[in-house]
């Protein structure tokens, strides 16, 4: 490692080739459930990390504890990454995309009380009500709604944004 720090490429190759089986073995031993390609990804992570921080190695100190600390840290980092990803993913075997499937028939964004929604829309100021009706209920494009209402596209965007915010507030306070 000392030679590698001094820029000796062939010594560095020899060192990395020597330690790779050890790192692979260590990772395999500590993460028995991982697939071989995941282990290899981690091995590469460890090698890249070692390369990035090779200046931190002190030749007066033993090499293996230094390497083991990097490998252990990258392993823990990988586990944290995996846990974060797993926490934000929902494992679904078959996505319900056909109408034969019950899940696909569920109206996901339907509001539970249409009557309250109708009252809340009626209570909106005229400009916001018109914008919500045209853009959200009739699903017109911004250009079509602008042509029909005589309002500008920017004004429509602002009105619909405020309208939706007002509806959300009204419906959350009057459940």
């Amino acid at each position: 490692m000392k030679s590698a720090q001094d820029g000796d490429g062939s010594a560095y190759v020899a060192l990395l080739k020597d330690i790779t089986p050890w790192v692979r073995q260590m990772l395999r031993h500590r993460r028995r459930f991982l697939q071989p390609q995941d282990i290899e990804d981690l091995v590469q992570d460890v090698l890249l990390s070692l390369h990035a921080v090779r200046a931190t190695y002190d030749p007066k100190r033993p090499f293996l504890p230094w390497l083991a600390a990097i490998a252990g840290n990258r392993l823990a980092d990988g586990a944290r990454r995996y846990a974060r990803r797993a926490a934000n993913e929902v494992a679904v075997e078959n996505l319900p995309v056909t109408f034969a499937d019950e899940g696909a028939k569920m109206p996901m964004d339907a509001y539970g009380d249409p009557e309250a929604l109708r009252h809340a829309i009626e209570a909106l100021p005229p400009g916001q009500r018109q914008a919500v009706e045209m853009l959200k209920l009739r699903e017109l494009s911004l250009k079509e709604a602008a042509r029909e209402s005589g309002m500008g596209v920017g004004a429509l965007k602002v009105a619909v944004h405020r309208g939706i915010r007002a509806l959300r507030k009204a419906l959350s306070t009057n459940p």
Binding site: G7, V13, E40, L47, L48, A52, V53, P65, I70
Partner: protein
């Protein structure tokens, strides 16, 4: 897949330019102090030292608190640098813990003394918003130097390293502050000054992962393409 690892090894070897080894944490701390202390002295000089400084230097309470603040800054710096060395000994973390305990203990002792001397009046708390920006000002250059230096190490414990670095800079900032800010009531020092040091260290610790990360260090340049 092992072929890809072999390719990676070749690429790493090709880009293995000589590197300058990091010195031991003690040496790096001395180097950091070489940057930080002159700056702190300059700020104290520019803001102008408090008028009773000479008298204060013979007050044992003041001297102990200042030594403890300085020792905490130094010990936290040593520990911060040590945490960036793979395989570092956890014993380094005891250093700032010990000096911090002495600092807190001296402030606590001061509070008791104030209580005995002045009664409840000695423990009155007033707003002193001067402390926060002053400690930030005095600790700014030490903090920047610390951030640059710890980034040369390994980001093994980003939050801990950054919190220790923040403690080092803020501790030194508080050490400098007391040379020009005439606030000696122990409870005020404890709440406003030590409180500021604590808040700044916590903020630094929180921000650690943004400037100390493997991702920033490694990037994706060397990894062989998949497939």
């Amino acid at each position: 897949m092992t072929e890809k690892t072999d390719t990676l090894i070749q690429r790493l070897a090709e880009s293995s330019a000589p590197v300058r080894r990091l010195r031991a944490p003690w040496w790096r701390t001395i180097f950091w102090l070489g940057i930080a202390v002159p700056y702190v002295a300059l700020v104290v000089y520019v803001v102008s030292p408090r008028s009773d400084l000479i008298a204060k230097m013979s007050n044992s309470q003041f001297v102990i608190e200042q030594i403890a603040a300085l020792a905490t800054g130094i010990a936290a710096a040593v520990a911060a640098f040590a945490t960036t060395i793979p395989g570092f000994s956890r014993k380094f973390l005891l250093l700032p813990a010990f000096t911090l305990a002495v600092w807190l203990g001296s402030l606590g002792h001061g509070c008791v003394q104030d209580w005995i001397r002045l009664g409840p009046e000695g423990l009155s708390l007033r707003p002193d918003w001067f402390c926060f920006p002053s400690i930030v000002l005095v600790g700014a250059v030490p903090a920047i130097a610390m951030a640059v230096m710890v980034r040369r190490g390994a980001p093994l414990t980003p939050h801990l390293t950054a919190a220790l670095g923040g403690l080092a800079a803020a501790g030194l900032g508080n050490f400098g502050l007391r040379f020009f800010h005439p606030q000696d009531a122990s409870l005020m020092v404890l709440v406003w000054q030590f409180g500021t040091v604590f808040v700044l260290s916590a903020l630094a610790g929180w921000a650690g992962r943004y400037f100390l990360s493997w991702r920033a260090l490694i990037g994706g340049s060397h990894r062989p393409a998949v497939g």
